[in-house]
Symmetry: C2
């Protein structure tokens, strides 16, 4: 698959994930045990009475799976997916054990760097959707992308 340089990106471009990842109860609890050991991610009975009204995956688990789906997608900036940071990260719906997630990304903005002419930033919205098409995570990230024009030229 072709990698994309800053010059290849334009606002409005969309990239779809090629794969899906299904979370089961074991993986939801395993991630939460290590990184987010709160009862609503670990115990069905407690979760039923919580704000989530049932066992829900940690948002950070959803974020990590989103990254994996993105790495496996057709979205291939040269130099890899390198996030300078996010302007927004939200989880509008809980992720449940059994949910199958996929991603969709859209380029919002392309911006050459003023201080580093060999690279630039692209602003990308990424939505993570479940099998019903509900958005379970939405983010707006700024990614560092190298310029093709900065590549070493072959000797003439």
């Amino acid at each position: 698959m072709t990698v994309l340089f800053l010059e290849d990106f334009v606002a409005g471009q969309r990239f779809a994930g090629r794969s899906r990842i299904r979370l089961d109860e074991h993986s939801v609890k395993a991630f939460a045990s290590e990184f987010d050991p709160q009862p609503f991610h670990l115990d069905e009975a407690v979760a039923a009475c919580s704000i989530f009204r049932g066992l829900a995956a940690s948002g950070w688990h959803t974020a990590a799976i989103t990254m994996r789906l993105l790495v496996d997608s057709e979205f291939r900036p040269a130099g890899g997916i390198v996030g300078a940071g996010f302007d927004e990260l939200r989880w509008p719906q809980p992720v449940r054990p059994g949910d199958e997630l996929r991603v969709e990304s859209e380029v919002l903005e392309v911006r050459p760097s003023k201080s580093r002419p060999q690279q630039g930033l692209i602003k990308v919205r990424t939505n993570t959707l479940n099998q019903h098409g509900d958005i379970v995570q939405t983010s707006v990230g700024n990614l560092v992308v190298p310029c093709r024009s900065a590549l070493p030229k072959p000797t003439e």
Copy 2:
């Protein structure tokens, strides 16, 4: 440890993490293999020539560890740490194998909900620091916190 309701939070309050988590090379590579399998998180030689100039943990690994440090900290909202979303999430410095991370949080804003009088939102900046005191992650999150006044009253 006492849990805190919306009425207990005020802007300017600070909470320090009680524990530290050290990342070793194995955990950096294990997390990246599952969630962010890009060469600069997996292979020293490739990482040396990458934008990170050496093996670096996935930002999502740092985010997940930050959550764990926060859950283990003295910051205890009633009902748990429930993020409605983040306005900002950045990784100003790479996290290296061997780094030991800790967190510090500050309440920026406390806001009762207009539509749901039994709860409100607090805006919290959380910094994740390494053993040198460098900020490796900074975030501004909005957390849902229940009001004490919404608790069921004992029968008189």
